[in-house]
Point group: D2
Chain length 368, copies 4
């Protein structure tokens, strides 16, 4: 009971890494929204394994099969949402469970083997089972539909995530200079071409040492409507934080000034309001586009940190289910750095949160 | 619709800062749990305004009135929970709305005046209305009940929060050396007496400059049961992150290695399993006590950053509801630093999350 | 965990019959709705004990104290909703717990004493505790606010409940002839004056025999917007059924043709569509205003049956907590027939359901 | 947003009648429960179209494909639940959308065509789209899993539904004499062989007149644990009522004495407690096994009424989307009486409700 996300727009996912298929249901998309299957597939392709030398070589076509919720009047028309739940599945094709057989009774360090066993008394050891990040493919399907819905309803909205930092290498880029083509032009998905090169080199170095590395994904939301977020507990940043910490391998979330705010004073940190071009704005944006839990129309930006991939090819010490000490050495396929593939996942979860809150706000925005 | 928190243990709060009273309902506490009203009041006292020279001088008795859900067989017996919802209220006594009258149509910088107006088209300007942190008193009432429940069910559990950092001043303290008496012995609630002194001095300096400051609260959970947390979306750290980012003035959350994990490799970051004293443990604890979204029995520790208080006594620039530029100068009562008072709030939200997940885990832990 | 009701408009109640106070929180009322406290009080008065010789003599003022969620700009203005949760309480004044002391360890027949004990292992025996219908006063407060909201948003909507049947005595009245003044002019709240007289006489007869009786409440919703209801599980009639069976002492719910439909064929039962006065209507209305779980604009009408009051003044056989056979004889105050007092409760729950679904429909009714 | 059902055990369904596939996700089944796919398929077969001359001739294999949540250690072992969500789909094979093309812009009487159009502004006209009862196949899959789980946890529990009444023909049968083999031995699923014959004949008569008929399904739950149900709003009978009124074509629900209680007095209706065979029982059972919203261990029994099938082969009057009067004559395949096929659907929804409440009760039943 933790596989659903959202209030008015709710995604429910299912699936283990090496089962026959994974999938989900997205309930709450308003009717009559044009949805492009190609756009969904193209986001899936950005998350797909095997896309570059910094990702796992597992080959998955990741073709989504949608069974409901969309109607195409004829083939010259786009699919339109029906207002009914959108159900879909994706087949697991390149599962090589045999590679995991020898770890069947071993608790791999910093994986979820031990905790799943302790919680459920049973676990699907094949490819990590439900704890595998394979499940996030379903979030990308749903996130793309949510984003298309949002952009249909608020044509100016834009959600752009990218790799901000790998070890000490940081992208030097201003929010207003973000260029999605540059982000997509390099395999680490970094908007700063110099940093991108260094990051790529660093990841390959670490990979060659049979090690792994994490990084920081930054996400920016532009063209935001004012008024999204539901105090006190469902503040917009609270729901974003939950969405991000629910992505596998994340260790932290910060919004606006984030942890740097600890070094500032109120007079430095307060964002003065101004009225410019017929819009209420703030001169600085340490708030990160959210005040009192509600969007203020300024860009929302936040960071999510991903730990280094737990699977590494080095020999490691651990214990097995009988509590004996064991040595293990992964030969399976894995990512030296998951962060570039995490970019579309962060965008997807963000779209789900924003679209849900957009609908929640519509519910009370009644013309009188 | 954002004033409820939790799944099986659910807190619903209400109340504006200067209304007649604030309050809440806590539904889901199991029956037959002994609950001490004194303990609730004592946590409330730790959050209460006017407790020291680093907090606001507003005087509120903050006495909680509980109307239901508890039964005392006779006066020699403790109150026992009935399994029915616990409803309570706290009166607002020292509200001085007049101090806010002049800001009635002004958007105070980095407050929620503008966003509440934009969202609802109406707002209670008196003392910040619903956006005031006064609402968190209700969380402390509920959090104390949740903590007493947890401790009745898992006698070893302990939740200890404290001030870890004010500007560059950091507490130098190991988790295993935490001492609650030291924390409570100084007005900043810092477990490191040297740092505590420096923090206090720093806050008073900043207060004397009519400015404000934030800080980092660290929270540690000891004696944790294994198996709490509900993948994929209700991971334990995801619900903690939501709980923390829902507290007013927070800008970030990190767990275990947090943002520092960006500098590490997998071989450094992985926590090797060992079996010691008949318990599965990990040699290091960069995971922060949670793996795959589920508690592993090691200490949970996480950081929450609070921005500098938005209300300062300096003259500031802003605009009013007509979009005219205005100057404002707060004469109201406010905290130069909210972080010491935030300590019991962080503990309370943590207790609510852990108790909720404890019950969720009980639901599926059926003896067969 | 069962004290909350609704999705976008959510009522949470608390309170035992003889505690200090009962109350609730209504979260989700849109902002800027004018709310009259007098109207709330007047619905409460219709539910209040002691209002006539067919109801219990317990004297409760039932004055509602609202602490939040409403703002009055000045005393010439109505209260307006703030969009924040509305918290309230009602004191229990005329609790005479002593009358219940002798039943402290007895399971009164067809009461909830045994099941509360079995479920929780503890119960508040004073006045039935949480199982007392006293809790429904909170539903009436919330229902009146929901109704005022609905009527502000859809000025034509009307919710009228009344007593349709006591034993074999039935009101002979057509929906289109309903007159609220007649309903309120007699103490049984029956719209048919002849039946009303007979019902009143019947109840007094049964009361004089130290016995009790139930009855059927019919509820009619006129001026309904089209499109409310959320298939497949949250069909409008499904949520109404849940709302009604959640009222104490109810044993059944039927909508439109109800159980009589068993005697009809499809050709008799189908409601032919017609277009009249620029409106889609149906010539008959066996559907009861709902088709496929969604309102079709025709009047919604449904019946709710209430069993005879379980408390009677006769000697009854039962057992106590030690499983010994006992005789009991109630001397407490009780209603010979709760049905007239149930009328505003049925209206209140109906208003909560319709207002919730109105908001849910607004969420997806986006102007494009 | 109405396609999910349940609190701790939650079913989410998707699918239109003539889409590629329908399916669902069942989240919350505890781990380590043996689940038989054959039993699921056998309940599906009881619901399947084309099973007899009193049901629609549409031919659907209705084979369920389960992709997750179950693990078979090896082929000699049963499938065990993993504690993770169970995702599944069923293909739509014998959809003949062409038969519906001529009704594409017509509002069929007492169908959901008009209300879906009014609510969503778009609808899938093929086979009724989402409003088709085809969706209930997913409920049967989930219900069978819920029932197997319940029976694993409470081996004595039994849920038996049957056809109690078709027009004036009633089954004459006592609860304690129910025999599932007799129920399954006749095509109307009636436990009284004489009534069964008459019902079958009546349905065929009505079918021959190109008409349809409804009926009453009775459901009995034996071997019930005490203590299930969550006052005040999630009373056990309230959740059962919602579950039943959410099944297509239902018009009413009654529990225990139901609508007949209107003719009784309290002294007749009260169920006296007795202690027999080491168990608390009631001598009569007008309460229907639930008191104060909580199961008391006595048999739960309730009735659900289904209206006559809306699709009939006679010429009917209606209007189209342009509001013109039209005549329509169904040539499609349809059930003269859905009630026999509704029997496993009623059982399935009952199992979902009881299993959900069983888990909710476990959550608070903590050994101390």
């Amino acid at each position: 009971m933790g596989s659903s996300f959202g209030t008015l727009l709710r995604l429910t996912t299912f699936g283990e890494s090496h089962g026959d298929f994974i999938g989900g249901v997205l309930d709450g998309i308003p009717p009559q929204i044009p949805i492009s299957i190609e756009k969904i597939q193209s986001q899936l392709d950005r998350r797909r394994p095997g896309q570059s030398k910094v990702s796992t070589p597992r080959k998955e076509e990741d073709k989504v099969h949608i069974g409901s919720g969309l109607l195409q009047q004829d083939q010259t028309q786009p699919y339109l949402s029906l207002g009914t739940p959108i159900g879909f599945y994706i087949k697991n094709k390149d599962a090589r469970s045999q590679a995991y057989a020898k770890f069947q009774d071993i608790y791999r360090p910093s994986h979820a083997d031990y905790t799943y066993n302790a919680k459920y008394g049973i676990r699907d050891w094949r490819g990590g089972g439900r704890s595998s990040a394979r499940e996030t493919a379903c979030r990308v399907v749903a996130g793309s539909i949510a984003l298309q819905t949002l952009q249909h309803l608020c044509p100016n909205i834009k959600i752009v995530a990218f790799v901000q930092q790998i070890q000490e290498i940081k992208a030097q880029i201003k929010i207003e200079e973000l260029n999605e083509e540059i982000i997509e032009s390099n395999i680490v998905r970094c908007p700063d071409p110099v940093a991108a090169k260094n990051m790529e080199q660093r990841i390959l170095d670490i990979k060659s040492k049979k090690d792994s590395v994490g990084g920081i994904v930054r996400c920016v939301c532009l063209g935001m409507p004012v008024g999204l977020g539901e105090p006190c507990f469902d503040k917009l940043e609270a729901d974003l934080a939950k969405a991000m910490l629910g992505i596998p391998a994340t260790k932290g979330f910060s919004i606006g000034s984030g942890f740097d705010s600890v070094y500032m004073t109120g007079s430095q940190h307060n964002d003065p309001f101004v009225f410019e071009n017929e819009q209420v704005k703030t001169r600085s944006n340490y708030s990160g586009g959210i005040q009192g839990g509600i969007s203020n129309g300024m860009p929302i930006y936040f960071d999510v940190v991903f730990k280094p991939t737990a699977t590494i090819s080095q020999i490691q010490q651990s214990i097995n289910e009988n509590h004996d000490s064991v040595e293990l050495e992964a030969k399976g396929r894995h990512d030296p750095c998951v962060v570039p593939r995490a970019v579309p996942i962060v965008e997807s979860m963000t779209a789900l949160v924003l679209c849900d809150h957009f609908l929640r706000q519509q519910a009370i925005s009644i013309k009188r």
